[in-house]
Amino acid sequence: MRHAWTLTKVRIRLALRNRAFIFFSLIFPLGLLFLFLGLGTRGAAARVPYFLASVLALTIMGSFWGLSVQLVTFREQGILRRFRVTPVGAGAMLASSIFSNYIMTIPTVVIEFSVARGIFHLRSWGNIVGIILLVTLGTVTFAALGLIVASVTNTMQETQIINQILWWGFMVLSGATIPLPILPGWLQNLAAFQPATYLVTGLERVMVGQVGVLQLAPELLSLALCATIAFVVSQQLFRWEPEAKAPRRAKLWAASAVIPFLLLGFWENAHGQLRADAHADYLSIQQPSRTDIPR
């Protein structure tokens, strides 16, 4: 744990010296915030929570991209192998990825909330405990997914291709960009099979519906489960050496991270409230109300 913390501090410093990082973790999410809140709410404060939930979700989901690229770069440049002759283990290295990413996501989230409040007249913070839990679990989950991507790909090119595919899936099929209720029914059913949907719906529910933490149990549990499995799998598949190729069992391990979401998806489609909840929150941006116009 001590090693993980040392590495975390160093990695935060490295990230802050990296212009690409500053762009993707601060400028880009803030751009999205102004785009979504500026265009989406059309001045109605009642619509702010819904769009803010989307931007928060996109900010958090972005974690997987940066982390996978960073870890693959470290491996390809032979940086990881230098750590291998020290007492640092794979667990500490991976944990430092997750910690540093989490610590650096928080300021962006705080800035997003502040802008939403100061400029777009967000009226209520929503269920703060629920928001903290979702932001935390979501950031850890998507960071851990990034670590899985790094562990099953052999080259940066492969990593970027997988990232593109995942990113589009997360963006389009989660409700973060296109509201779930306006997708065809079968796509809505499909959305229940991926983690991003639970993050988006969870955030919408705490921000728009202001539901209690207990009611968030399905979202929180599914994210926690995904994070745990993704961490364990990426630890199992961790490779220090640039020339080490992903073993065949890697794809099996990675697939095992998907199993809880398969089960959850089937359960959700049969008994769950996901679609109904998404629809209820979606209504918040459908009803313009004069009282919403800022004073």
């Binding site: 160093v10 490295l14 470290f74 050496e241």
Partner: protein
Amino acid sequence: MGAAIIEVDNLTKSYGDVQALRGVSFSVEEGEVFGLLGPNGAGKTSTVEILEGLRPPGGGRVSVCGLDPQTSGAAFKQVIGAVLQSTALPDKIRVGEALSMFASFYTHRRETGGLLKRFGLEDKKQAFYSQLSGGQKQRLALAMSLVNEPRVIFLDEPTAGLDPQVRREIYDIVEELKKERKTILLTTHYIEEAEKLCDRVAIVDQGRVIALGTPRELKQRSAGTTRIELRLARPEPDGALRNLEGVSDCRASDGEYILHSTGVPRTIVALVKHLEAQGNELASLEITAPTLEDVFLELTGRRLRD
């Protein structure tokens, strides 16, 4: 000399169909600088990486400080220091930061300020890794390998790719470590490095140790033979020179002939007579004591840097 601190017994390793190590055995005593000398692909790096715990052995047995590198985990990593081949640090890490970070991983650590000073990196403390020259990077790598006061230091081709001046800097550092009675296992394909730095040398070729001893002992294998390097105005068929009096061996490469002679005066006289008869002329001639290069040539029939 003390007890063996590194023991390698009949070590083998294959990568697919390629047999990289075919039964390597040697032992290194405490306080000794031991060299693995051989051409690229001889199996030096495989051997070192197995000893560092980076690769599992295929067969045989190794022990370092009485520990098995594969199974002893962090306890083993605490007592070794290593300069690896093909490694790097993040571009935007500062020299001082890197050294402190690596020091923090160990329970027994050295004061990093002293190391920076010793390796001439004091004024580079705030510099980014990407701003360092090749020599500075290598000096930092050496400093990093010493942060934990290791009992054994592995230097895998520590001067490969460096220019001669920087190489000499690295030699000075190793000589200093040698004076401090550090145990060092060094791999190299430079003859000069092995002769200058190592107490004992194992010559490695095609996954085997083909000779082992102090540089002096190894050269005495060629005792009684002297090396004659010559260039001629016109090429001669190999066999002609080999049959000269006193010549035990003759090889040609790049227009240069290397003769090994057991009686230099007789050989020279015979050579001059032969060339006169052929109407050929000497362009240059040099007589030297045998080097480890000659030992390698004698043992393998190939030059070290072929």
